[in-house]
Symmetry: D2
Subunit: 427 residues, 4 copies
């Protein structure tokens, strides 16, 4: 048994923290139509009655609304952070004030306490796990395999977590079903295009004080994220330049009316660069050599590997913080190359970053919530291993959002359904 | 043996026809960068040497450039029309003037001669077939099964043709490999979005003399075609309204900033309607009842089943041609509902329609050409039956277009390729 | 007295013509919300009672609805064409069938009859004139000065007409007030931007069969027309290139995200050119020399002076009609340069041109109608000479259109009006 | 003589402050192409040699680059702040380190010292004044009329300052020429549309953590600012709703494809509101009553009078800070209405606001610089009083920006100039 105590015992003024945390949660909930709708359903139907959910996630206002939703659905929830620096103590305290929730998340804990907090969560004997980085799944498989028999299943939010779970799965080492709540069609279409696009540009604007109109904005990669950044930058009257390696994506960008060219050429004309490829070495030495004085470089891809900062640092005769969140590298010819947020995700790692837009998390957490419900209701249908989110659940969340926003749509008539069927299945 | 003669023997002034046809072909070729590029390759490499290609397609200027490309590649080509009304005699004559091409296509032939012309093509003993509606495949399987042994394979352009071939295939009745050259990723992305979108709206504008700015344009269906129509109408400052039955598509349209609502509501406010669903009964009685006086209805989906014209006709107290290509239905309350091109594809069936934009056919025919080459070079790799176009060929056509338009792109480095590989395959 | 008879006496089957003409008028009226609204007002209030209006305008369906509106307002109207080739006899006959209207417009009349028809109109002893090219004003001043005393005033639609009237005015030779119904704020903002933009591009698309996506569309001039063409081309996913001589307009285009460059450079990359400057020699010899094979040239400015066709013709080794409405000029290096509509206004002079979009004329004619009413009601307030349309009338037409389309707007409160006043007039 | 000392004597660690201030100036200058270009010219030509410029402006990095430019042009500059809270001490210190500049601006000074600092500037006996709120002009006219004889002229940046100067002028009390460097065509077109539009939305996004896609964004007023906000919001896939009182502007918005309606109706559906009218009482009691829970209200107009906060506060049962920069008003039915930046300019007054985008100030300051030069070179041409910026200077700044960004444009030929002239002046 871990003796690591809930957050409320770690804070000086718990009441003030709870009030402040509640306000943050309230703010977020105002812009979470999906969770708001699900609260009504879960509260009325109590689909999670009798379950214990163990969670390790970023404990901030948006997540907190998911946690509370699960509790409203009838579950007992125990939660801790998935990163010692991402916890908001006030939000953690607000959650901990709920009788059905125990929160162990405290900002800035050391490694020992970080793991002690995970242990404390596991002491609740969860029947479900909800992870943002597979900490909970991993701790249970490593340290508490005896719990696995009673575990219905789990959800994992991140790409990296899912990646590792698949590796475990391939090795036959994953012993309960886990939904990969990461890349559903809805998430790809909305988060990446709209969420990443808008928030990356807003962070760039508010970190640098520059405007986009007439700027050459170089977008590296024309996947969903790249499309979003290109579309939103173009919507701010930037002249968008796209670099790509896949000819059909390149042609797609070209047909959209964007300039398409190799990075080496784009480097010469770019005012602002945004990498979105998910690959390494997108902006490298020959590009740095070609850039204009004052170029602004940022990354909207998962890892800080897209801009080759080591080489840039080697090339620079001087390095300094030009502004909060802007690192300037001065070349020997006097040109200054400016890198935002150390080349990490600009919409998450810039000094004023607020994380993903609320609506994006609303949708992700909506999928989490219906996945948890699905595991409770139909967990037996899923074998141990990683599972894609069933299409129907993704669709359900879309339906909830449309309903919550008052958007009605048509339904197929019997004749139409028949016609489509006859067509696709042959006659 | 069919005694149906080539087109040159059917025309009065063959020389004039040939010159005129050649000009039409020249015009199209100026805007076909892919075929232009492939002409150089095919002429230099003669990949089709020794083959005989039997074709049944719409014989007009764009297709004619494909036909000539195949001949330049070393093949002997025999062709006839796939629809008695779509043949341009002058283009047919221009093709027939080529020593390596025999064209039997003549506009307005009767049924007997239509089939006699197909027979004449088959008399050339084709080793490959290229169809736009499977006439050639069908005639060979039904009437000339003895040729099948020496046939390398075929290409089929249309959705309906592919649909029927798949049915044959399921019945085990398709005896050589046929590429379904219809719905490659490139075609979906470019033709449907840009080609159909732009040409539908241009036809509507030039048939009606109305402008789009501030109009409520109702787009039924938010698949690729619907996205194209919505995007281009919005780019003309229309207020776009989308109707859908699939919640995620509906949400996608909503997130784009469009109004989404059921058709019944859209019917009340729409100025111009464009159906793109591929399904039947999209605009029906209750919609007609709700429409404003002067509403304009058009269809950009495959068949003329999306607008329920029979019911509209029943409801109308009077029907007349309000303009060339515009049928007006007057309701008993005096409202006039105007249907373009009899509810058939507005970009193909309106009186001034020019068919698909040249660039769209350039791309389709580019895929056709590399598919024919693939069958000649690697036909043994494909079993009898319907085959999707191999991804590599689709990609090759994208590369040719980019090259032809002078667009260069990046290539993955060894390290990048490794990084991507390690990531997607696990460690 | 002229013995030139009304159109009804010139036609063989007057009844058929009248029916056909009425259908054309009906079609247009369905898309003319302003005239529709004014019909109700004019019919109820009869503001033109007792007046005789002499008109020389293009007699086609859109104009005909203005003519009929004036008659509904209580006036007797006599009309003839302002160009022997622009008359639609059927529409002319439909007008002539109205007891309050006499139409002398007949298509294809010779010069003598053209002027005889004007005389016939003047025989009605007009108290107001409405012109499209000042024919009526001119004939009255030259031949029938005795009528001037009883003439309340006139309206002139065209830029050229207004230009000449101002010259007359400066010479003290214009003896009654004429409204320059040409360049009101509403017309500049809507016609030029939306009307010319959309219809120019639709004509280009439907004359050439090309699409705009990814094309380099070079727009010469960034005034209202140029802005419209650029905006609409960009909305079709073209890559827009702007040429300008005024630095602030150039900067405006640059800030919008467009490429701005001299024509000489634009000539090298342009796929489609649209001139909108109103000036001569916009595309000249050095540009022709630089162009790509297949370049498409068109003009959306008033006169056919923007593309230097004489020089192009001199440079060409061969000239021919590549398509209906497309003149091809073949250079000695084989490049083909294609000029649409002989360099005349592409949205009016292309073979399939329908004239301005109906909504554009609805607005122009709405201004005409309220101007005529103003002359009748307050003609004494205007001295002889050319007058700009009073701002209030332009505004009234905007209000009518908003009302007709069901758009409501706010009104200033007393306090707000005071606040604005105090602000702008100082304290 | 004022004994208020320069900033350097007020700071503890002057060297550190100077270094930090210089970095801020460097950052801004990287994104100020116009000032960068003018630095070269001014340094080479020394057009301000022998002049003394007295300034009262916001002393931050962008302004500082103007100050330094004037010094580079040969002037001695003395400056103080125009608002005790807007001074950046480090930037002030960096300026003060320049031998030709004395800066008296210190953050947070009390009233006495604020005016003492103005006196200290005047002790330098300026021959020109550059103001941001007319403090310098006013102090000289009130307290040091003896200086007026040697004063060449002045520049005033703000709308309010210009407004008051015009009042002085009308009273005959303004005794030297002052340029109203506020509303040149360039500023209206670029600052208002692009600068205000982009920075308002970025501030809203980064204060609230919401995204714009699919949101109903209500823009009150469709002047330049409103157009900018609408355009940029639409470019982020918002559904834009416009409210207006002027019918032609309303129609312009309608033709653009936006929804136009009275505020009372917009209030019911709006998610995010941005007022841009410059008038009072734009969002009032009946609107608050109609709003949805969670509505976000912001202002991008000059004063905090557009949202009726007093009434909102009266209506609220509770008020609290929902987030930094977000004031929540809870209605008795539980709805929360959220007001950003206390209803003051959201792009200047939000907690993370950076002021106008750098490029916007680059342009304003470019106009300032050429106006100062004009006064030195041609001051005698201007009588005492308020003067609009001569068109040629505005144009020159546009030319400098185009040149600085490498954009070349065409020039009129002699024939073209003649043609335009003949046309507009008659023949």
């Amino acid at each position: 048994m871990s003796d690591y105590a809930p957050v409320s015992e770690h804070l000086d003024d718990v009441d003030a923290a709870r009030e402040e945390g509640r306000r943050k949660m309230d703010w977020a909930l105002q812009h979470m139509p999906i969770l708001t709708e699900l609260r009504e359903q879960f509260e009325a139907e109590k689909p999670l009655e009798g379950e214990v959910i163990g969670m390790a996630m970023h404990v901030e206002a948006k997540t907190a609304n998911l946690v509370e939703l699960l509790a409203l659905g009838g579950a007992e929830v125990a939660i801790t952070g998935c990163n010692p620096l991402s916890t908001h103590d006030d939000v953690s305290a607000a959650l901990d004030a709920n009788d059905d929730i125990t929160s162990y998340a405290v900002r800035g804990v050391d490694d020992d306490n970080y793991y002690a907090a995970i242990e404390s969560v596991i002491d609740h004997e969860p029947t479900l796990t909800v992870d943002d980085g597979m900490d909970m799944v991993f701790a249970i498989h490593e340290e508490h395999p005896e719990l696995i028999d009673t575990i219905v299943g789990g959800c994992e939010e991140t790409t990296t977590g899912v990646h590792r779970l698949r590796a475990m799965d391939e090795d036959g080492a994953l012993n309960y079903p886990v939904f990969a709540v990461n890349d559903t069609p809805m998430k790809r279409l909305f988060d990446n295009v709209h969420g990443t696009g808008e928030s990356s540009l807003a962070n760039i604007a508010m970190t640098t004080n520059v405007s986009f109109a007439s700027k050459n904005v170089v977008v590296a990669g024309y996947g969903y994220c790249g499309k979003g950044v290109a579309k939103k930058a173009s919507g701010q009257n930037a002249n968008v330049v796209v670099t790509e390696v896949e000819p059909r994506r390149a042609l797609e960008a070209h047909m959209e009316g964007y300039d398409v060219m190799p990075m080496k050429e784009a480097a010469e004309i770019g005012d602002i660069f945004v990498t979105t490829t998910g690959n390494r070495d997108i902006i490298t030495e020959e590009d740095f050599e070609a850039m204009k004085d004052g170029a602004i470089l940022s990354n909207a891809g998962h890892f800080d590997i897209e801009i080759d900062l080591d080489t840039l640092s080697d090339l620079a005769t001087e390095e300094y913080d030009a502004r909060d969140g802007v690192r300037a590298y001065e070349m020997d010819d006097g040109r200054r190359i400016n890198v935002l947020a150390e080349g990490r995700l600009v919409n998450l790692a810039s000094p004023i970053a607020l994380g993903h837009p609320i609506e994006v998390m609303d949708q992700s957490f909506g999928v989490q919530a219906v996945c948890v419900r699905e595991l409770v209701e139909n967990g037996d249908n899923y074998e141990a291993g990683v599972h894609d989110v069933p299409d129907g659940l993704d669709k359900e969340v879309a339906e909830i959002k449309l309903a919550a926003e008052g958007v009605e749509i048509d339904a197929l008539s019997e004749q139409q359904r028949e016609y489509m069927g006859s067509w696709s299945h042959g006659t």
